[in-house]
């Protein structure tokens, strides 16, 4: 297919391929809805070495592209931040159109986390403002985010993943995809000194919730709402 024909097809689909996945009359449910973390947070223990908080129902998007300079600039103007091109890094920006966090996944793939209410607008902006060949898919319902922190969080991670999380090789802002408790499709990211973020698959959410309870039992697990 010639470039002209391809561009014509891309033009023709602009503004037509985006669907708002969270219309006003539907209430979202996290994959850990059944665990009722809110009740556990109010009734459970408040002292312990590991703190767990689910950052549920975020807007999650996967961008695949091999951007040239022009497309890179267009993407930056839509997102508000430039795509991180250094492997295993992430960028974050608060304010503006909303909190945006972009994580490097592979040389042509990025994982974008925004507030759920912003995702639809962001997709629409991509459709109208970004030219060329790319793919942006809303995967909000396919994943959930767990935030782990506390003095013993590294001990729990050591049980769960082969990744070295020592600060000298895993600084704040680093992102890796690896295995976590033998389940794949996972990102791990140091957001503070002893704070990590896990992006886990919906279908593994219950399994990892059970795993984390077991792995952190000896240190004491504190659920935060």
């Amino acid at each position: 297919m010639s470039d002209a024909m391809l561009n014509e097809q891309v033009e023709a689909t602009k503004g037509k391929m985006v669907m708002n996945q969270i219309p006003a009359d539907i209430v979202g449910e996290s994959p850990l809805h059944h665990a009722d973390l809110e009740t556990l947070a109010s009734r459970g223990q408040d002292q312990g070495g590991v703190h767990l908080k689910e950052k549920s129902l975020q807007g999650l998007l996967i961008l695949r592209a091999k951007p040239d300079e022009a497309q890179m600039a267009e993407i930056e103007s839509v997102l508000g931040v430039a795509l991180p091109t250094t492997p295993l890094t992430s960028v974050e920006m608060a304010g503006g159109k909303g909190d945006v966090s972009v994580r490097w996944v592979s040389p042509d793939e990025w994982f974008i986390v925004v507030p759920a209410t912003v995702a639809f607008q962001l997709e629409s902006d991509f459709q109208t403002s970004v030219s060329g060949h790319y793919s942006l898919v809303n995967v909000s319902s396919g994943y959930t985010i767990l935030q782990l922190s506390g003095d013993n969080v590294v001990d729990v991670l050591k049980k769960s993943t082969p990744i070295d999380v020592h600060p000298s090789v895993f600084p704040v802002g680093k992102v890796v995809s690896s295995v976590f408790a033998k389940s794949g499709a996972m990102m791990l990211r140091r957001i503070g000194d002893n704070a990590f973020e896990l992006i886990i698959r919906r279908s593994f959410a219950d399994y990892i919730w059970l795993w984390l309870q077991d792995a952190s039992m000896e240190y004491g697990l504190v659920i935060e709402a």
Partner: protein, 94 residues
């Protein structure tokens, strides 16, 4: 366990994250209709199984999910080098 360097992620990771994907540098016949049954059969089914230096295709399955090539000694498990697709190995069997 092997410690494997992923050329896309730029760091060594545990073998658990990777999958081998067979022999590297297998070229599909340019014109399948024109090649003999023997050539096609060898392309499809026949693989090298050397004792010693071997060029293999691996995928960083749990990481960046990209393929890359690896030169590995099948006898000692020593990894001689890793290189991206489209590149040629600098270490070859004698």
């Amino acid at each position: 366990m092997l410690h494997i360097y992923c050329p896309h992620c730029g760091e060594s990771r545990d073998e658990e994250e990777f999958h081998p994907a067979g022999q590297a540098h297998i070229e599909r016949p340019k014109d399948p209709d024109a090649c003999t049954d023997k050539e096609w059969g060898e392309f499809l089914y026949f693989r090298r199984n050397p004792r010693g230096v071997h060029h293999e295709l691996w995928v960083h399955a749990a990481g960046c999910r990209k393929f890359f090539n690896m030169t590995r000694n099948t006898q000692t498990y020593e990894i001689k080098e890793v290189y991206k697709l489209g590149e040629q190995p600098s270490v070859v069997a004698e």
